[in-house]
Amino acid sequence: MAEASKSSDSNAKTMTIIVTKGSLDWAYPPFILATTAAAMNVDVTMFFTFYGLPLLLKKLNLQVTPLGNPGMKMPMMGMHMGLPNIVGAIPGVDAACSVMMKNLIKKKGVASIEELREAAIESDVKMIACQMTMDLFEYKLEDMIEGPELGGAATYMEKAIKSDLNLFI
């Protein structure tokens, strides 16, 4: 009874997240939800595919782009400013925006993706690396963090079918 709400409990709620995007901004929702769900005793599985797969690399250098993203307005000089696409297309602008975003993240006490990923592993979030994407984009297992297992669509589906909640991000 004392251990009734542990995530290993067979009555625990389960969630899966398909992680398909690997930019700095898009990396947040899956890791925030996975870690928070795990903290709330949900058994979580993350499936990393396509551009989401590099989020499992040991060394992350995530970038954000204002290109084609009119919703991206950064707080600046007391207002919110976006960048026209033609400015965003200039080499170096993505890098500058990424640095600005990371500074903002730090200043506001928001966790880094590395921290959230570490927290996910610590709280037993299961991670599946898409084998097809590994082959397609020529990623090597030795460049990835320890922990994720390799699998494909069927491996994911087996989890998803039995899961209470399935998200595609």
Binding site: A39, V110, A111, S123
Partner: protein, 75 residues
């Protein structure tokens, strides 16, 4: 007097919850954890966290910019 104190001031979502979950592991069943936070979203989040995990939110107060939560570990 709470069994454990967690200072989550300056941290943003979801860090106060993640750290509270971790800290609760060191609290004996029936014991309490006191959390200090500055994230205004933590007020709703600690209520939801406690309702979902079955722990008891005994107190939720605010003093200036700081929110204080007292959580009783139920299981």
């Amino acid at each position: 007097m709470a069994n454990q104190l967690l200072d989550a001031k300056g941290l943003n979502c979801p860090l106060p919850i993640l750290k509270a979950k971790k800290a609760l592991k060191d609290v004996p069943p029936g014991g309490t954890l006191e959390v200090l936070a500055t994230d205004p979203g933590s007020v709703a989040d600690f209520q939801a966290f406690c309702r979902t995990t079955g722990n008891e939110l005994i107190e939720s107060t605010q003093a200036g910019d700081t929110y204080r939560f007292l959580i009783k570990r139920v299981n």
